[in-house]
Symmetry: D3
Subunit: 291 residues, 6 copies
């Protein structure tokens, strides 16, 4: 064997070693359902998206049942601005009149969702876009009269998502719901949590722009690596959470209460956060667990 | 029994008689696959849409496998105009640059498709929106460099549509496809024909704004009620078809050649055209058949 | 379109409207099991039978699991008279010696049952005759020594009926049972009720010669339209029921107690009573419901 | 061990040896379909019937798919005589007017068939009576205007028989068929042969009153033990067959031509003829084989 | 028929009668799971083995799910002696160092097991050898440090045995187990009992060299024919059992406690003991039953 | 994040990248059947075996259907020497008398096979040992009278291997076969090739002690990296192959002729050869392909 070949083989060998090291994790996770909420900056950058999509695909090939749930606030704002529709928020929620709702649908279902489907399909005929109206997946009611078409999920009909998983696809679910009088705009963090609960998922992963939960909001090094279910409830009651974290942690607590084993907040702007979390023992992000 | 009750029962009885008269047709069509292309004015009017949707639902409940394929030219134009994107056509085809394509996706997948899904779901959790990118259902290639993202369907992967039918849903397919470099805008008449061919459908129905094929374009009473496959090819070769009919009749000929038994052009603006065609012997529209 | 065509289409359109009006009911009843007891004059008249059979077929095509249970007292009497076998009744029950039992079998299984199978098969290869001895469907014991081969159903083995339903047929069950020492003559009203109980049917329909339960036996206009389960038991205890109604209402109470949701007494001599009851809101007959 | 016990065990041991000797045959016949035509005196005698039924049950328990086909000429004659309906034959076929046909149905389906079902059910919930009208199993056309309701089988729909076999029952098929205008009386030998052909049976057994085919009709010792398919056709052409044998041998030739491997004529009045034929090497009856 | 033929048929007929007599037992045992522990002298003699194997095969053909579990002490001793490895016992258990364990594996899995597989395969492609390490069927832990690789079964993973049964084979299980540090030698009586418990078997049969349990160890005529579960426990507590019987009866009590219906001790050196026990009413051996 | 954590994450990230790079290969190989022949020094060294076993497990987790076939010449020799049985070869084949055959069984089935099963089970309850006698997987006939129990495979019954694969296990097949008169010793290279043919495998891999096929036997750098099917046949006819390679290349040609797509000779003493071959583009060993 020549020197060049030796080096190439050496490298290949290191790669093979990595695959073999992943064996115990692959074994452990085979057949489990994982819901991944995807959003924030990680979705705005093409290279980051490529990485996330590769991770999702890897989970599928490892035999996991993966469901992707996404929102798309920034993309919605862009279309609204192009259409000269004013953007209004109230208590952190987008006031959604009919024109806004139409734009939300167009962006989330027609554009963002399809972009994710397209990226996943690079690896086969793998992904299927689903809106919460398809198969009445997310049945909603209005949150309040003031907010217009902002919806609260009353019921998740997960038959369609299950059928699509069983047929071997990755469901990519847009955070839009439907009610007796039309479409509703639903919070994607909550949509992910409700989906995980309905599917009795093992794991729920939030890909965000931050490293996880910080003990001290102003100190990046104060990352909390593990929180139990009872501690999660204490956190919510303590009033110490940043206002941005409250809805997410509420959704997390609800998922834990319903039996989801583990919920993660990971920084989706770091490459391969999901794979690192699942297939290595690099402790990253914050993991919420049952007590 | 009182007089009022007698009258009510009399009416109910007539209704029961209608149901019973439909029995032989129901029996005949049970289990068959029917692809319905839906478009034109029939889709712009809410009441008409309600009628079409009820018909589609009825076919499903009668045990048929129904697939709805739709375009949405007028709705696309509206959004393009709102976004100040110029509308350009060449040889009857929409010149589709990237910005136009994004708007096409947003309208067809995010809005028109979801509207149909929502209307069908009035009768249960029945419908599922599918874009040609989901499961790579429509694999496309560009028609010509001049036309940008106008695509020709190279292959229909009908596994997803089949899976969704098997799971008991009505697939509602938007005429958008995907290629190696992104999304493509495909002709909905052709998309319907290609879907019918891939599914080995028994029947393909075009819901349009006209009564059918006219022998003399200027004479509304010259409706041709039945055309065989060889006559269809002769029509295409004869040069007598109106330019608007040529692509549709070409798609029809292709479906007949591939074994679809019957293709219909019906006027979707008449209420319940589909039910009339399938469950009564009122001869309506133009029927294309095998020789 | 010519005037004649306009009228024809108008009529066809009314028919289509009727089909569409039935949609919500079809949706509601899909997949439910319905047991229909068929007997009395409605079975003696060919035209009436044609109507009942069309209704049954319609229920099947609407996706319901229909089971027909029948007796045939008048036809039995005719054969007994031809064979010079005396007809004897005691407490309303036919005293059944061995020769009578043989005639009962011959008429019910060989003739009446097959006539119903034949009529249903007009609409396909749909129906299968079943006697209570086939697959030991009705296991019986003698009611009393005096009555000879009059049997009480001890157990319904519904595996055969289920297998036949699953294979897509309508089971037509003759009210004959079997015991350790041969065949038994069983009351068809009870056979229907026991079958409904064993199949956990949603609905049990008695097609009779009367309009339903009358509050005052002598006043045809005193039809009771709805009776709850507890009221049914009160009726039985009250002693006000006509002697002819007692066994039927006892069978009905037993079905309700076992969880059958609705039991109906309908006049089978009115055309399409079953369809009217299920697919319209014409209130006909008497409906017994859970409390 | 005491002497009495020794003797008992000795006997038991011989029995066990018999079971073990049957092993190779059981192995060979597992899963094969066998159609048994049952008729003649063997069906008139209760003890003989018990033996035949035990044999049929044994075949089923050995894992074979057994179908019993029967006629019942003598029983029909008895009922006709009781009803004062004249019995008429023409060319060996029963002239069958409507009254006769009704009696044929009553006897074959209501009585003979049910007797066989009842006897088989002694061993479990095993048997299901089927008439040729059930599931339109035997579709018939009239043989000739003179003969009335004597039918020729045009088509065997074997889906019902298959469904009943798959559900673990023994189908007991009465030789009655149906046509567009009602019921038909069909020859049971032909019904058995047609059923065997439709089911692609491995073996077809005719249980008769004779030992098999005799080379010389007047010499009981001239039994022919084996006949090939080509010899069967030669026999039919030779004109040497007794008139009673011609229809049976014609049916046999037709079964062999359609691929049934072996057809047997056995004497059903000898106990356990079927078991002897299948599970021992006692050469009995006449076996017709492929060339 | 000639005299010689008459005699042959007479014999054949007696055989058919035996088959028919077995019908009720076959019916009763169809589909039940039976675990047979095979060992002792019955396994050392080729003719006896042929008989046992035929019995096992017969049970399978009768539709029972049979599992054979075996040890092979004598064969192990022979190989150990050939290899000059000393044989040592302590408290009736073989002290098993690594070299001994290797020999145990070689003999039990490589030789004894394969001999049984081979003999069963005489009747088809029927048998599959399984060691307790295959599919980690027997997960073990060491009994005590002194005994080396003598293992106690902690858990039976019966998925592999079930899969092999479902695929139509007879699993032949060698009494070898596996633990975290390699292979273990397990008592075959216990292995059979644990397998029966894990499979929720109906019957467990011990084929031994003795007639059964004796009330008085020194009196061969004191055979106890039936023992209830509570009596079994009393026997174990009474201290009257021979030391050789204690482990077997302990295993039996454990099986009964876990719900196995019947456990038998039979003398495997008598021909066809298993068939006699199951298919005749010759009372042989000792039967342990639930109370 | 602290420096130490940064480094750890950096490493983890590289690992994730490796997993992601493997995606296209995993996708390509999913669901394919691969037969691996394992033998030579790679099987004698515990560390090497651990590597091979990890590779096999990885293939399984990637969704491939892996079958391991092995021999074990050196281990056989050791036992023969311990038992003082002389080792004799003739034309490269082991002369196999009955005593030798017994030792072959004991070593291959009882020891080597179980060692592989045990090692694979480290990763779950994954592996099942199978001998060619189990389910008559390898039906053999003697090669020649001189060689005793050396067998040629006449037929592979792959139902058992398929059943075990379908149940989710890795079949580990010992190269022992069976014939009408007992066990046979079969060449493991041929056994692997015949198994691959019977399973219609996509790939067959020979793990050996050499780097592959050398153009010049004396020059290690003359490795031939790719050989087509026709070249393989030319090689066999050319007479230039070393005598040790002839049987292996004959088996390879036979596999290619039967439609196996790719056959590899890899050096099993290099770590992870199989993974390198399948999941990287490091060209190693010799690959035989269809023309």
């Amino acid at each position: 064997m020549k020197r060049h070949d030796r080096i190439m083989r050496e490298e290949a060998l290191q790669k093979a070693n990595v695959l073999v090291e992943a064996l115990p994790w692959i074994n452990e996770w085979r057949g489990e359902t994982v819901v991944v909420k995807y959003g924030g900056s990680a979705m705005e950058n093409e290279e980051l998206m490529a990485g996330v999509v590769a991770d999702i695909e890897m989970l599928k090939l490892m035999g996991m049942r993966v469901v992707l749930v996404h929102g798309g606030g920034k993309a919605i704002n862009r279309l609204l601005s192009q259409l000269d529709i004013p953007v209004r928020f109230k208590d952190g929620l987008r006031v959604t009149d009919d024109a806004t709702m139409e734009a939300v649908q167009e962006v989330l279902i027609g554009k963002v969702n399809q972009q994710l489907v397209w990226a996943l399909n690079e690896y086969g005929n793998n992904a299927v876009g689903i809106s919460g109206a398809d198969g009445k997946t997310f049945k909603c009611e209005p949150v309040s009269a003031d907010l217009g078409r902002v919806g609260r999920i009353r019921k998740v009909n997960c038959e369609l998502v299950e059928a699509v998983l069983d047929a071997g696809y990755i469901p990519v679910v847009a955070s839009v719901g439907c009610g007796p009088d039309g479409f509703y705009n639903v919070n994607a963090d909550v949509a992910a949590s409700e989906t995980a609960k309905a599917l009795k998922a093992h794991k729920l992963v939030y890909l965000t722009d931050v490293d996880g939960l910080l003990a001290d909001v102003d100190d990046e090094d104060s990352l909390v690596t593990q929180v139990t279910r009872s501690e999660t409830h204490q956190l919510l009651e303590s009033g110490t959470l940043s206002s941005g974290m409250i809805p997410k942690v509420t959704a997390i607590a609800s998922a834990l209460d319903a039996g989801v084993e583990q919920v993660h907040i990971l920084n989706g702007t770091y490459p391969h956060s999901i794979l690192l979390e699942i297939f290595t023992d690099a402790g990253i992000g914050t993991m919420f667990t049952q007590d």
